[in-house]
């Protein structure tokens, strides 16, 4: 009944097919693939979406301030 896209967040509907998430809004990344940046400004795109998980941007620490403390209390 449901296609893969409806069942897993790692698939997306591409007109009629279910394709791999290569370009979706949330992803899952291995630690070794992460290269920290400490930008002065995170960019308009990130700022718009960040409100879902973060309170605000902190320019001193060059990171976002968490609003998911109930799930990650030590972060």
């Amino acid at each position: 009944m449901y296609c893969k896209c409806a069942l897993s967040p790692y698939y997306v509907k591409n007109t009629d097919r279910c394709t791999r998430v290569e370009d979706s809004s949330t992803r899952y990344v291995a630690e070794e693939n992460i290269q920290l940046t400490r930008p002065d400004y995170p960019g308009h795109a990130l700022l718009t979406l960040a409100g879902k998980y973060f309170k605000r941007w902190d320019s001193t620490s060059h990171s976002f301030i968490s609003n998911v403390k109930d799930e990650y209390p030590d972060d």
């Binding site: 409806a6 007109t15 291995a30 693939n33 960040a50 309170k55 799930e71 030590d74």
Partner: protein, 529 residues
């Protein structure tokens, strides 16, 4: 000569008191009996008008403002609204402070409809200094979006119930899908059309006395000289924006598809008493005007048995009348003569809603990348997602054809809607329950959707399991909130969560070749945005 303030005329005292804030009114009321009687109720009405812009339609606030002051208990209304604003503030703060239980709180807000809109807008415009500014703006916008979608879906649901819905509201519903904090909602659209008619009446005094034919041509001609003359030069014909009546009315270029031109024409013509409607001519919607039985288009009386005459207009291309024979000739040219006259009759709003949905969906699919995608302008791609998703809702609420073909349409669209609700628009769960589930009763989709709804609700109600960083755990090096660049794909993202090891399903692991990474699947994995 006035000796004390009370000697001043009432009107002057009123003007002075308008500077008093509502919270100090109780103190002012105690000054004297005269002050007490003067303040009610004109001042309370003034505060309602000035402090709050949006009210739920059920209150009929416009009618109340126009009616005699004493007919409404303005003080009670103000107090009720003030309390509502405080309640909404409290609910928003509660939503911001915890990830769980949000669904119920959001539904409590959206259930209030437009009464809650001013409060949401206030939070949407939170100042940059606010400690949780990003979260406040994001969530207010998301809740507002859901509320606006509810308004849109409600119009289409009314059409489904065969309730009469004016053309401009049926099509204006699409504008609600990408409204955010801008102007151009259903009421604004109606007012704009009223404004245009007022202007037309000024330009053509005595227009009410003209024959139907001349009135129709006057409207078409007015439209064209006011800038409503088709697709603007800067826009592609298939640009999504040409399908929105609100955008056409409020934008400087008034760019439209023929369908929307025909709807605007009909909405204006109806305000002048004409029996005007869009008609579904193939490839290019026109407008059809009927003279009414017992009368010709030139206003001459005929016996009651006389069915009336038809004329056509295509304001998208010209201000001139097109006769029925000319329309038949056009059909012949298109080699569609076997359609008879079935496309030369007034259409119904549900048909034009479906057409507009398909136009919007096609317009978005024509772009090189299908949704979801990132464009340079994140808000525009977000709006395209919303418009696409909203257009699907319209097709879902108003499937066409016989039972079998309707069932097929539902089967095609429901999975996509549910996926979107789950991933991007969780606050629309209420819409699914109220407007979608009932229409699925008796189909095999009903059970699946109801189950999904239950899962989502349960997931939302459950408090999140805290993931603590203990010393014994395999070190999770990065933390929530850090910004990074992906070493292989080069995109920039932010960390929103982590797992001490890869917890995706086997299929994902093998597809992404996780095991061939130097640290394999037993390194920390991060959820990122």
């Amino acid at each position: 000569m006035a000796k004390t303030i009370e000697d001043l005329p009432t009107e002057i005292i009123h003007q002075i008191l308008e500077y008093v804030t509502p919270t100090t009114i109780p103190a002012v009321q105690l000054v004297s009996r005269q002050f007490s009687t003067i303040i009610q109720p004109l001042l309370w009405r003034h505060y309602c008008q000035v402090k709050y812009r949006y009210w739920s339609a059920s209150r009929s606030i416009e009618a109340k403002y126009l009616d005699e002051v004493v007919k409404t208990d303005w003080k009670a209304l103000y107090i009720e609204r003030y309390r509502l604003e405080c309640d909404v503030d409290r609910e928003i703060n509660s939503i911001l402070s915890s990830q769980s239980g949000r669904l119920e709180k959001v539904q409590s807000i959206t259930a209030r409809g437009y009464d809650a809109k001013d409060a949401l807008l206030r939070h949407l415009k939170a100042s940059d200094d606010a400690a949780d500014v990003l979260a406040r703006r994001y969530h207010s916008d998301a809740i507002l979006g859901s509320m606006h979608r509810r308004e849109a879906v409600q119009q289409w649901a009314d059409l489904r119930e065969n309730n009469p819905v004016p053309w401009e509201r049926a099509l204006g519903a699409f504008d609600m899908l990408t409204l955010h904090d801008g102007p151009g909602d259903l009421d604004d659209i109606a007012h704009k059309l009223d404004e245009l008619i007022s202007r037309l009446r000024l330009e053509c005094p005595g227009i009410e006395g003209l024959s139907p034919r001349r009135r129709a041509v006057a409207v078409a001609s007015f439209m064209r000289r006011s800038g409503f003359d088709g697709v603007s030069d800067e826009r592609d014909y298939y640009d999504m924006r040409n399908s929105f009546i609100g955008k056409a009315l409020f934008a400087d270029d008034h760019s439209t598809l023929p369908l929307i031109s025909a709807v605007i024409f009909s909405a204006l013509a109806q305000r002048l008493g004409l029996d005007a409607h869009p008609c579904g001519f193939p490839f290019h919607v026109h407008a059809v005007v009927k003279s009414g039985s017992g009368m010709t288009l030139d206003g001459y009386a005929r016996p009651e048995s006389f069915e009336g005459e038809l004329m056509f207009v295509d304001p998208h291309r010209s201000e001139e009348e097109i006769t029925l024979p000319e329309m038949r000739q056009k059909l012949l040219t298109l080699r569609l003569s076997n359609e008879n006259d079935s496309v030369l009759v007034p259409s119904v709003p549900a048909d034009m809603v479906r057409r507009t949905s398909r136009n919007i969906i096609t317009a978005i699919q024509r772009l090189s990348r299908p949704p979801p995608y990132r464009t340079a302008d994140i808000s525009e791609s977000g709006d395209m997602d919303s418009a696409f998703y909203g257009a699907l809702w319209a097709l879902l609420i108003l499937p066409e054809g016989d039972l079998v073909s309707r069932a097929e349409q539902l089967r095609r669209y429901v999975p996509y809607i549910m996926q979107n609700v789950e991933l991007k628009y969780p606050w629309d769960l209420g819409l699914v329950e109220e407007f979608l589930l009932p229409s699925l009763v008796g189909t095999d989709l009903h059970g699946t959707v109801r189950e999904t709804v239950r899962t989502i609700r349960a997931g939302d109600a459950m408090p999140k399991q805290p993931k603590r960083r203990t010393a014994t755990e395999n070190r999770v090096y990065f933390k929530v909130g850090q910004v990074f660049q992906h070493r292989r794909y080069s995109y920039t993202a932010v960390i929103i969560g982590w797992d001490a090891e890869c917890l995706a399903d086997e299929e994902w692991i093998s597809h992404m070749n996780v095991d061939s990474l130097s640290k394999g699947r037993y390194q920390s994995f991060y959820h990122v945005l």
